[in-house]
């Protein structure tokens, strides 16, 4: 028995009426009685409360409106449409829409104003003018710094992804083959770093790699080197930092995939005379394709835009696009060029991101 949920059934009306009564009572009490002092203690004046109520009512009205519209569009009943439109609205407003604004501002010109860019369209004397300034993009191609930064980021991301895969795959494999009881503990040990700030973990390496740091001290003590090695502020330090920070993101999806493998396939192959190595390459690796893709994308895509690691561990030779974008935005205050940099970065990453989303969708729906 399925019934369409009427958004305004009896209970709905009761809830709305109750809310109105409470709001009215609070407002009245606020005007006259001792409750006013209560709100004042909270630091809210009557004006602020009224504004807040109006804002809340507007948001609720927009939400209901969007849900009803969406239910027409998606052929869902209003209740389900309301559930979909909540996150949809939020992600549309705060995730998708901002990209179009970035695109728009990448066609603007830098200006000494607040905000520091020109408007791309104007309307005067019945003429709508849209001025697309391609200068920012041309500027990116003229200055070799930007090309070098993009290439540097891609190289850094590609090499780190491969290194993470080479280290992470055996680790995930060992975890998947460990006893069930120790698996949860191992999983916790791998997961914990992913919740810890990259900032803190990179900072830990600064103390180890610096010229008078622990590593150099140790190597000098055992007499392997005579003068301290310059590791901090080189690309090597950035590689160490990136692999260190992103290794767990490679292991987790690989483990999730490997742990589901059916061992009887391997046994059957062994019975038929296949060697362990052959089993691994012909059965385990092809079956874990989705895990490899998910892990590689979770490393590759964020590393291309990484800022913290090259900033703290890298030196002048480290050119990465995340750092360049940050400098354009915060140091040069050139918002249009920063936007153009972001647009180009997104254009480079769109293929891997779609690949990742497809892969996730398969994982999410495959077992439903």
């Amino acid at each position: 028995m399925s019934k369409l949920t009427n958004p305004l059934n009896d209970r709905g009306i009761v809830v709305v009426a109750a809310a109105l009564v409470i709001i009215g009572a609070v407002t009245l009490l606020n005007l006259i009685g001792p409750a006013g002092t209560f709100w004042q203690a909270l630091g809210l004046s009557i004006n602020q409360i009224c504004t807040l109520l109006v804002v809340l009512a507007t948001v609720a009205a927009v939400y209901v409106g969007v849900a009803l519209l969406f239910s027409r569009f998606s052929h869902l009943n209003p209740g389900r449409a309301a559930v979909v439109s909540g996150p949809f609205l939020w992600l549309f407003l705060f995730f998708l829409l901002p990209f179009f604004i970035v695109l728009k501002i990448s066609f603007a010109e830098a200006d000494v104003a607040i905000p520091p860019y020109t408007e791309i369209y104007s309307y005067a004397e019945q003429k709508l003018e849209i001025i697309l300034n391609l200068g920012n993009y041309l500027f990116l191609t003229e200055d070799e710094l930007y090309l070098a930064a993009y290439l540097g980021s891609l190289k850094m991301a590609a090499i780190s992804t491969i290194v993470c895969l080479l280290i992470g795959y055996p680790m995930a494999y060992a975890m998947a083959r460990a006893k069930k009881e120790s698996q949860t503990t191992l999983l916790l040990l791998i997961m914990m770093p992913t919740w810890t700030a990259i900032l803190i973990r990179v900072y830990a390496w600064m103390g180890i790699l610096s010229n008078n740091g622990l590593l150099n001290g140790f190597l000098l003590d055992i007499g392997l080197i005579d003068t301290p090695l310059q590791i901090l502020n080189t690309n090597l330090a950035v590689y160490i930092g990136v692999v260190y920070s992103y290794l767990p993101f490679m292991i987790l999806p690989l483990f999730a995939n490997l742990v589901k493998h059916d061992n009887s396939l391997l046994e059957a192959a062994s019975d038929l005379g296949s060697s362990n190595l052959n089993n691994f390459w012909k059965i385990t690796v092809p079956l874990s394709k989705n895990g490899i893709i998910a892990g590689s994308m979770l490393v590759f895509i964020p590393v291309v835009g990484e800022f913290v690691i090259p900033e703290l561990l890298g030196g002048p030779e480290t050119l990465m696009i995340g750092k360049v974008l940050w400098q354009e935005f915060f140091n040069n205050r050139d918002w249009p060029v920063a936007s153009a940099l972001a647009v180009v970065m997104l254009a480079i990453l769109i293929v891997p991101i779609i690949l990742f989303n497809r892969n996730q969708a398969k994982e999410l729906e495959g077992k439903a």
């Binding site: 949920t5 996150p87 939020w90 830990a204 767990p248 895509i301 990484e306």
Partner: protein, 296 residues
């Protein structure tokens, strides 16, 4: 089996690689010497000094406040998204919806941060809000990417649930929202807790998004740490970093603990149900037990 041993060795070496730097950081935060590389005996003076640092404590309180709001909002939004992904198989725009939920997981933070800031600036011009950027804008930025993590965690749990319980309640006449509140929510409560704690930790850690969307006077803890770290390694920062590590480990541990306890409870319940069933009359095929992972 040779590569079994090799992989076990790699696992332990990898874990050492992951944990040794953090351990060294914590040990050196108790270093009495002002020089960070010279060991001068044990001391807690850097921790005591933190309490006097008014600016830092302000940033800590602000970060904790944002993390609380983020955890609540991300759990609500993420659960809704997970419900849609697992329970509403087909509607127009579902591909876009799935993409919007998973994309924040990998999107480079500099892009998300820049785009959100430009959105807030455009909104301030259009509708006059937000007049100044601060806690609310940081909260919005954090909620957006934390909700994706919650959605992944919760949808994994929702998929495992036995749909027949929800269907039974519906057959008995319960409204969908009542089924969700009284049946689904209690069953997925552990993953909600795990998602909430994960969001709390992620929000507490974020530097890049907060740097873009915060305004003057609303520095968060990671921003405070970053501006100090840029100038080099300092003993005070060692102490702050160790405290952050401690808080995050506690949160991770509890999230793991809740998930594990719920898992054990569920297994016991399944076992009891199966025993009861085989004892009595079994009128339907038993659900296939989850195949245990093979032992090496």
């Amino acid at each position: 089996m040779k590569h079994f041993r090799l992989t076990t060795f790699m696992l332990w070496a990898g874990l050492l690689f992951i944990y040794a730097p953090m351990l060294i950081l914590v040990i050196y935060s108790f270093n009495a010497s002002k020089l960070v590389t010279v060991w001068g005996g044990w001391s807690v003076k850097w921790y005591a000094g933190l309490l006097d640092n008014r600016q830092l404590m302000g940033a800590v309180m602000r970060s904790l406040e944002i993390a609380c709001y983020t955890a609540i909002a991300a759990v609500v939004l993420g659960t809704m998204a997970a419900f849609v992904l697992t329970r509403i198989p087909q509607f127009r725009g579902r591909t876009l919806f799935g993409g919007l939920v998973t994309a924040p997981l990998v999107m480079p933070e500099v892009i998300t941060g820049l785009s959100l800031l430009l959105l807030f600036v455009a909104m301030a011009q259009l509708i006059g809000w937000p007049q100044e950027r601060g806690i609310v804008t940081i909260w919005i930025a954090h909620t957006t990417f934390c909700a994706s993590y919650v959605a992944i965690v919760v949808s994994a749990r929702l998929r495992e649930l036995d749909l027949s319980i929800e269907e039974a309640a519906m057959d008995l006449g319960a409204r969908p929202w009542k089924v969700f509140l009284l049946i689904t929510i209690p069953m997925i409560a552990p993953s909600l807790a795990a998602g909430g704690m994960m969001s709390f930790a992620l929000s507490l850690d974020d530097l890049v998004l907060a740097s873009f969307v915060s305004g003057p006077g609303s520095t968060t803890l990671p921003m405070e740490v970053f501006s100090a770290v840029r100038l080099g390694v300092k003993p005070e920062i060692n102490a702050v970093a160790s405290l952050i590590l401690l808080v995050v480990s506690i949160f991770t541990f509890f999230a793991w603990f809740f998930a594990r306890r719920a898992e054990e409870k569920r297994k016991r319940a399944i076992q009891q149900a199966m025993e009861a069933e085989t004892g009595g009359q079994s009128w339907r095929p038993q659900p296939a037990p989850v195949s245990p992972p093979s032992q090496g």
